[in-house]
Symmetry: C2
Subunit: 144 residues, 2 copies
DNA sequence: TTAATTTTGTTGCTATACTAATAATTAATA
DNA sequence: TATTAATTATTAGTATAGCAACAAAATTAA
């Protein structure tokens, strides 16, 4: 393999694998009859773990841009899993909070989500995890 | 960190990094004034390396689904970088071929694309590449 | 050879991703 | 204070990404 081409191939493999992981999760969500997507799940989980956040914080934590977050929030609101509450000190902003239904949903889905996530890591060791994490963070760093 | 949560975090990191790599390439393409996307590039490069292919083969090689490939091909055709030629032995199928303009474009862009791709891998060693490749392939395998 | 099945590609629908432009509000500064 | 700049969120437009349903053609089976 040509040296210069190698990097393209690794980039492609990264993209391909990330897509597969996402697709697998999507497929499992469907099979479980869940009405949310993986990206919507990530927002619900954030709110479950950290409490009320505004859209900027949610976008920042999930590394999504603001328009994308607006739309995810809209969809979750339609499903009555979250609510937009006025921000006490800033009229531009909303505090996003889980509804009771949203909280219940997170608690019910969490174990299954963890199973879905673990599936990807079969036959990989703790050391692999550490290496993988280090390399991904290095790549992300290089492009920031 | 809880053990079960760890896997979700690695999945997130994988997704986040893959998005960053794609976003970086997209941004550089724009800065260079190129009118194609990264995914369109991948198709052009395939055709450049392997000659004429049908849409099924292109989709399979890039791990994209058929509808997505149809749309990418449509856009590349509009830009007159590729052409759909009738398949000699199968009237359902097209042979997709680079136009002269498409071939020129690949040759002009290739060095810069390689630079863009290499940027991600600064400060990573040959051993890192091998580990990374092994782990990604293992993950992909686990979900197939 | 007819009928059933598979393959190839398209269209429609929903959701993310990114850019640009905009509105409303808040913060900074002259 | 008045003006300017920055922040928060939205809307619009384009491009993947995936699923389902479909049409046309080719292949297989009866």
């Amino acid at each position: 393999m040509q040296e210069a081409e190698k990097y393209s191939r690794y980039s492609f493999l990264l993209d391909k694998t990330a897509r597969r992981v996402k697709q697998y999760a999507k497929q499992r969500f469907r099979e479980l009859g869940w009405t949310i997507t993986i990206d919507q799940w990530a927002v619900l989980k954030q709110l479950y773990d950290k409490g009320e956040l505004n859209q900027r914080e949610l976008a920042s934590n999930t590394f999504k841009d603001h328009p994308t977050m607006t739309r995810i929030i809209d969809l979750l609101k339609t499903k009555e899993l979250i609510e937009r509450k006025p921000h006490p000190g800033d009229r531009r902003s909303f505090m996003i909070a889980l509804t009771t239904g949203g909280k219940t949903m997170v608690e019910e889905c969490l174990p299954e989500v963890q199973k879905i996530r673990m599936k990807a890591w079969d036959n990989l060791s703790e050391k692999d995890f550490q290496e993988f994490k280090r390399i991904l963070e290095s790549i992300h760093q290089n492009l920031s």
